[in-house]
């Protein structure tokens, strides 16, 4: 393969992965999956019933693996019966989104019904408005993951079949979304009413923000907030993961000799090292700029 073609394909894969990462995070924010979910689930127990979509599909990596694998399976079945590739990937992603919709509905209804003693009502308008959004995001995620997997198989000659590769990328995008983007919702959005950087005090457990700029806050308000930072950051993180891990073997083509193979390993190690140092510097700079939460001693004296 021409190196230039390889780089072009890698750019396309990276772009698709970036979109997949962003939509994956926003999907989990609409439904309060993963990190923020524990507080959404806890809130009614602490006498804070809410109108926020509460879903958990066994954790983000498995739920994304499920939709991507379903998409990959359906697409692979359709392609083997002669359907065009774009149509096959699209239908696969539509079916995956539909299945994800059923998982979301059963999770929200079931969890709300299991909180009867805390008087958490089931709001049907929340289901009607949120499930289409969740399905829309999951369609985008699945479609982009399928594009990534399909390009890797056909152009970069990856040996794995489509459903398996989609499964692996599904787990990866879920894991990255869960660790990168959800923190923005779980730590910031749910606790906007406490001072920035104060951490989650035990007394605040379950006391999530339940009122919006106008009316009562719901999952779509949360995705609006997360689309400003958490979603794009997840997209960049996932896009970089996919692009940088593929880039090293495209530039240093391992099929052309062992020396190039070792060069790609060294390039990978250098990238990891640079990222570690860079991350450390960001963390130190952020701590210096915003600092740990200091108790307001003057206010206590005055009280």
């Amino acid at each position: 393969m021409e190196p230039l073609t390889g780089m072009g394909v890698m750019a396309l894969i990276g772009a698709a992965a970036t979109i997949a990462g962003a939509s994956e995070d926003l999907e989990s924010d609409v439904g309060s999956q993963s990190n923020p979910n524990s507080q959404v689930q806890l809130a009614p127990q602490m006498m804070y019933p809410h109108r926020i979509f509460n879903k958990a599909v066994s954790g983000e990596p498995p739920s994304n693996a499920l939709m991507c694998t379903i998409g990959g399976t359906v697409a692979s079945v359709l392609m083997s019966s002669g359907t065009s590739i774009v149509l096959a990937l699209t239908i696969g992603a539509i079916l995956a989104a539909a299945v994800h919709g059923t998982f979301s509905v059963s999770a929200h209804l079931g969890r709300s019904a299991s909180q009867k003693r805390f008087k958490q009502p089931v709001y049907l308008d929340i289901i009607r408005s949120h499930v289409p959004v969740i399905m829309g995001y999951s369609f985008i995620t699945t479609f982009c993951i399928l594009v990534v997997s399909y390009l890797m198989i056909t152009v970069l000659q990856h040996p794995f079949p489509l459903p398996l590769l989609a499964f692996i990328w599904g787990i990866t995008v879920g894991a990255i979304g869960s660790s990168t983007g959800d923190v923005h919702y779980g730590a910031e959005r749910e606790f906007q009413n406490v001072e920035f950087g104060s951490g989650l005090n035990a007394a605040n457990s379950g006391n999530i923000v339940r009122k919006a700029e106008s009316g009562l806050r719901n999952g779509i308000d949360n995705s609006w907030f997360c689309a400003k930072f958490g979603g794009p950051v997840t997209g960049i993180a996932f896009g970089m993961t996919v692009f940088l891990s593929g880039w090293i073997t495209v530039v240093f083509d391992t099929t052309k000799g062992d020396a190039l193979g070792w060069a790609s390993v060294i390039a990978g190690a250098i990238i990891v090292l640079v990222l570690i140092i860079w991350n450390r510097n960001i963390e130190v700079a952020a701590r210096n700029a915003y600092g740990p939460y200091k108790e307001d001693e003057k206010a206590e004296v005055a009280a």
């Binding site: 066994s58 498995p62 990959g72 019904a113 709001y123 308008d125």
Partner: protein, 269 residues
């Protein structure tokens, strides 16, 4: 998140009945599909899908019991581990067993699951009293689910054909994750102090039906199995189970409302 605080989950149907239903239903479904596909035709492969749903119900019941000890986020982890054990045991059993493959798979899954359960409790010190039993049950039900859905896809559990048509094509991934989430999701979806066994089971059957439909989609390109009947029966089971689930949600929920404000302070007290 703990629901029972170690008291164990409240059950309407006894666990022994579920275990018997899972093993017997699962194996009968798999063997019926295996023989009837040869005798009558490929469209009988849907029976293995029904067997897989029996296994899914059992697995979900085992997850429900072990989760009530407050495992929280550990539930998907032990479930994936147990299904991995089930997959290894399935491949071993089908490779050496021939016609007795499913039975050998089930037995070896039980043995490996039990050993891992002992390791988890004694060596790692997780300290869940029913860990050994639960790992054994989830791994065994995992083996039944994997063999059931594979047989529903290709109409046989012959090792060579499973390797070529299910594993090499990557469809094992969808069996693993759709079967796995059908086991893990029901209790997770109904998590909370007012969780009810029948509602969790309705979710398990609903998600099992989705796994069956997916097996039918794959079966549609295999000549030795027929997808149409598997998909149609799967859709029917899904519809019935979902209707039942929604009925139970209406029974159990504090209030179902089209829209509205939050409960007032007086209401909460």
């Amino acid at each position: 998140m703990s629901t029972g605080g170690g008291k164990g989950a409240h059950a309407q149907i006894s666990e022994n009945n579920i275990i018997a239903f899972g093993i017997a239903g699962g194996l009968i479904g798999i063997y019926a599909a295996y023989f009837l596909v040869d005798l009558i035709g490929g469209y009988m492969s849907f029976l293995a899908g029904l067997g897989a749903i029996c296994g899914i119900l059992w697995g979900a019941s085992a997850v429900r019991r072990v989760s009530s000890y407050g495992l929280g986020t550990g539930v998907p982890s032990i479930g994936m581990l147990a299904l991995g054990i089930g997959l290894v045991a399935t491949l071993f059993g089908l490779a050496v067993g021939g016609i007795a493959g499913p039975i050998i798979s089930v037995i070896s899954a039980a043995i490996i699951g039990y050993i891992v359960g002992i390791l988890a409790n004694r060596t790692l010190g997780i300290g869940v009293p029913i860990m050994e039993q639960s790992m054994t049950e989830i791994a065994t039900s995992g083996a039944i689910i994997i063999i059931g859905l594979s047989t529903a896809m290709i109409g046989t559990f012959n090792f060579e054909e499973v390797v070529i048509e299910v594993i090499a094509t990557g469809y094992m991934a969808v069996i693993f994750i759709a079967g796995g989430l059908a086991v893990l999701h029901p209790y997770n979806a109904n998590l909370g102090p007012d969780e009810k066994q029948d509602r969790t089971f309705a979710t398990a059957i609903e998600k099992g039906a989705i796994a069956m439909i997916l097996a039918g989609v794959v079966a549609s390109i295999n000549e030795s199995a027929s997808g149409t009947l598997t998909i149609l029966i799967g859709l029917l089971i899904w519809y019935i189970a979902f209707t039942e689930f929604y009925k139970l949600v209406k029974r159990d929920a504090y209030k179902i409302t089209g829209s509205g404000l939050l409960p007032s302070k007086e209401e909460l007290e």
